[in-house]
């Protein structure tokens, strides 16, 4: 019997999953146009490699990765590029971002697809292939999948956890994926097992999906794998990686660290499936499964192309008359889309049509009575009421001391709060404020460093100039002295009066003075050089390390930037 551990906290919201699993996965018809955002994963924004008017084929690269943590973006179908420009994003911020607009030609004509024989390639080569196939985490975070592949030699992985938790209410796309395409998920899992050389593979699925558990077990057995398919208790957020890891292994990912530090790596079932399609068939990630549910006539899961505008998809499901908005994602962590024109991205897993009946408006916020319900519900074992207190007072340092950055923003605290306080929103606010301040501070530091460097350079140049002058003066003096000596020798030879021979040359005191000045300047320059660091050529290893750390932090802040910036725009 497999031992299942518990995580503290968690809540049990009504699941609303049954209505969208009655129909098999449907294939959404080609939309009238596709708006494919270039930035679809954590990390950089891919560079567009097509221009208006270009004809593109299905699967053709349209945006190439601009860095290591970045993943390529492809044309979801064949057609013509109508625009490369800024379009509204499926993001709570309501901001625009660079997107490629494609008008499908209806032929759905593929580029040449080249399977990847990952067994014959080195790990970096496989990583490159996955990056070029645009594979990102499909569980919601959209972290480029190749970036999570650690080299087994440096970081041995004991356990590969495949996440089929899908704990958010309403969402059933992973459920249906496992029911209908279990084999692909298992084959994709095997690829990651091979690449990471994991000792064991645990596939965690919430026990409210018995059909998915059965289908996965059957596929694992049929393919002769030794993966364990574990049905875990359905308690939100069991599908959060950290909580699932705790349930399956009893281990906790150390605060602020990656699961790989304890020999665990985690991928979502849909990511495993997409990886298999990319490796086995050379298909880049251009479509995904999407649950369309909520206040609609025909809730169902659809295979949709990335870039499909959501209004065309909602039409498939038939929204009811009182629909007053759309939530992308689940009701616990999702967000209201700013406009039904925005399109599906790789990270989208669910569209829920809203209605006042389904999601009643928030009740008025009352003061916190410190009842501690939030702390009991928190799966990260935080004290939300304390963090709330400090976030509200904008005492962000204190909020950080109470581990606001360990908050996974699952929303359990807001869910249970009897005072109807939007707790998690306060924590998003606190995080984005702290990030913003860090960025400001770094910008100020950079400016300060630049200014100091400039001062130092000017100083150095001045010193060098003075030194050169002094040297020239000294050389001249020496030359004169030599000439004088030669003249004296000549004079002596000519038997000049001894008095003139002993008399120092008329310009000698001047030369001595100059030499003294030059020497003093040289000493001063040497002192300055000793007192102040020279430029970056001669750094100690410690200094270099410090600079590297600063660079790393800056890069991290850069990653966080989009989230932070957008969250600030939320109420």
């Amino acid at each position: 019997m497999f031992q299942i551990f518990k995580f503290n906290g968690g809540v049990k919201p009504p699941s609303h999953k049954t209505q969208s699993v009655t129909e098999p996965i449907g294939v959404a018809p080609l939309p009238s146009r596709l708006v494919v955002p270039l930035h679809q994963s954590i990390g950089g924004t891919p560079r567009p490699v097509v221009k208006t008017g270009d004809r593109v084929l299905k699967g053709q690269l349209i945006g190439e990765a601009d860095g290591w943590i970045s993943a390529a973006v492809h044309a979801p179908t064949s057609g013509t590029v109508r625009d490369v420009g800024m379009y509204l994003q499926p993001h709570p911020s309501g901001l625009t971002a660079a997107s490629v607009v494609i008008e499908p030609d209806g032929k759905d004509e593929w580029i040449e697809r080249v399977p990847v024989d990952y067994r014959k390639l080195s790990l970096p080569e496989v990583q490159k292939a996955l990056q070029q196939a645009g594979i990102v985490g499909l569980g919601g975070a959209a972290f480029p999948a190749h970036g999570k592949l650690v080299a087994p030699a440096q970081n041995p992985i004991d356990t590969l956890v495949i996440n089929g938790g899908e704990c958010e209410p309403f969402i059933t796309c992973d459920d249906m994926l496992m029911r209908e395409r279990a084999e692909g998920v298992v084959r994709g899992t095997a690829i990651y097992r091979d690449l990471l050389q994991a000792r064991q593979v645990l596939i965690g699925i919430e026990d409210n999906k018995p059909e998915a558990v059965a289908a996965m077990r059957e596929a694992v057995a049929r393919l002769g794998e030794d993966f364990q398919v574990v049905a875990v208790p359905a308690i939100y957020p069991a599908g959060s990686a950290k909580q699932l890891i705790r349930m399956l292994t009893g281990k906790e990912v150390p605060s602020g660290k990656l699961p790989t530090t304890i020999g665990i790596q985690c991928y979502n079932v849909a990511t495993a499936y997409a990886t298999w399609r990319a490796i086995e068939f050379g298909e880049p990630l251009i479509s995904r499964l999407l649950t369309i549910t909520g206040n609609v006539e025909r809730p169902r899961n659809w295979e949709v192309l990335v870039g499909t505008p959501i209004d065309e998809l909602l039409a498939l499901a038939g929204p009811k008359a009182d629909t007053d908005g759309v939530i992308m994602g689940g009701p616990m962590m999702g967000f209201a889309v700013p406009d039904a024109q925005v399109s599906i991205i790789k990270a989208s897993n669910c569209l829920i049509a809203r209605s006042p009946g389904l999601f009643p408006p928030n009740l008025p916020e009352m003061p916190c009575i410190r009842c501690g319900e939030c702390a009991r519900a928190c799966p990260a074992d935080l004290q939300p009421y304390e963090m709330y207190w400090f976030a509200r007072a904008k005492n962000f340092g204190k909020a950080q001391e109470y581990h606001v950055f360990d908050c996974i923003e699952c929303g359990c605290c807001s869910f249970v709060c009897p005072s109807h306080i939007p707790l998690v929103q306060y924590f998003r606010f606190a995080k984005s404020e702290i990030w913003a301040r860090e960025r400001d501070k770094q910008a100020a530091d950079t400016a300060k460093n630049r200014y100091e460097f400039k001062l130092e350079r000017e100083e150095r140049e001045k010193a060098e100039k003075a030194e050169k002058l002094a040297k020239a003066a000294a050389a001249q003096a020496a030359k004169k002295a030599a000439e004088q000596a030669a003249a004296e020798q000549a004079g002596a030879a000519a038997d000049v009066a001894p008095s003139t021979a002993t008399t120092p040359p008329a310009d000698d005191p001047e030369a001595a003075k100059k030499a003294a000045i030059a020497a003093a300047m040289e000493r001063a320059a040497a002192q300055r050089a000793a007192a102040q660091p020279q430029n970056t050529d001669a750094l100690t290893p410690a200094q270099q390390q410090e600079i590297d750390q600063i660079e790393a932090r800056r890069a991290q802040a850069g990653i966080a930037e989009d989230t932070a910036a957008s969250e600030k725009n939320q109420p």
């Binding site: 003061p367 009575i369 009897p418 005072s419 109420p571």
Partner: protein, 338 residues
């Protein structure tokens, strides 16, 4: 304004929490009425009216929405606790004044709901017992069976309350008898007096405290309170009284007597569990409860007041922020103290 996630919420509200606390007090109120008569209901009504009036005025002055906050039930809980801890035949102005002091000073002047550092009901009790010690210790005799009309007249001052109508509380009676006996009296012989003492604690009162226990256990079962504070409170009383009882049963009453006498049950389940003024971490709650039990026992056995729950709770209220700070539980991913 776009609402942010989560879009679903559990059905929970402050009003619901407070209503359940009031519901849990009903068994106790029923027993109290059976014991003393409808005077206690009158006192509850007076306290509730005073609390809501004080709350309304303060909300108005502070510019807060009246309907929202008046219906939260917190003032009602405070009022009921005051009525249940004051002598049931105390004059109306004492209850009303005490309640107003609790609501205006102890609650709203500190910032209102959720902001008060001290338990308002206990502030009222402490303020009144210090200011009106005689009135606050006039507990009606068990054998007094007054009609409601008579009780009404006493409470509203139409009939002067006679000294002959009152009796010492069981805790007081025991303390006084032990003192007067000067070592010759034993607890067992004192408790044999069936006029004052019953089966395991004070005559009549023991059923009241038992009813509080029942209500408290229901609150725990309803997840309105956790087990930490009551267990700490009761645990401390049991350990202390048990230890001294084993040491000298002639001088010290048994844990059973102490648990079901005075304000221990009401204090452990209904007063020390107030989340606003108490500790909030699991370990902190145990320490908080144990501290309350410890001080309450010391005051009632060695101190000058008949019982010490109110002062114990207030003293621990002062310590609550520090206790919470020092007992922060480890977060996910930092369990090994790393």
């Amino acid at each position: 304004m776009i609402q942010s996630s989560p879009y679903v919420r559990k059905e929970a509200s402050v009003t619901r929490v407070m209503s359940e606390v009031c519901l849990a007090l009903l068994p106790g109120i029923a027993v109290y009425t059976w014991l003393i008569g409808p005077a206690i209901l009158l006192q509850i009504a007076i306290a509730t009216a005073a609390a809501l009036a004080g709350e309304a005025v303060m909300l108005k002055i502070r510019g807060k929405p009246l309907g929202l906050f008046l219906s939260d039930g917190s003032a009602v809980v405070t009022a009921w606790l005051i009525a249940l801890t004051f002598p049931p035949l105390a004059p109306w102005w004492l209850i009303a004044g005490g309640t107003l002091f609790a609501i205006v000073v102890a609650k709203h002047l500190y910032g209102g709901l959720g902001q008060n550092p001290f338990n308002p009901a206990m502030i009222a009790f402490a303020a009144c017992i210090v200011s009106f010690p005689a009135l606050m210790s006039q507990w009606p005799s068990q054998d007094l069976h007054l009609a409601f009309g008579e009780q009404f007249r006493i409470v509203f001052g139409f009939t002067p309350a006679l000294d002959g109508l009152t009796a010492a509380t069981p805790l007081d009676a025991l303390k006084t008898a032990l003192k007067q006996g000067e070592g010759s009296a034993s607890v067992a012989t004192i408790l044999a007096n069936s006029q004052t003492f019953g089966h395991f604690a004070g005559r009549g009162w023991e059923w009241l405290t038992l009813a509080y226990l029942v209500g408290g256990l229901w609150l725990w079962q309803r997840r309105i309170i956790t087990w930490h504070v009551p267990l700490g409170f009761i645990g401390a009383i049991v350990l202390l009284s048990g230890g001294l009882w084993l040491y000298d049963a002639k001088q010290f009453a048994s844990p059973l007597f102490h648990l079901f006498s005075g304000g221990v049950m009401l204090g452990a389940f209904f007063i020390a569990t107030d989340p606003v003024s108490g500790s909030t971490t699991p370990r902190g709650k145990i320490i908080f409860g144990a501290g309350c039990g410890l001080i309450a026992y010391i005051i009632r056995v060695f101190g000058g007041y008949p019982d010490g729950v109110a002062f114990a709770v207030l003293l621990l209220n002062i310590c609550a922020p520090l206790i919470s700070l020092l007992t922060q539980p480890p977060i996910y991913g930092a369990k090994d103290g790393k």
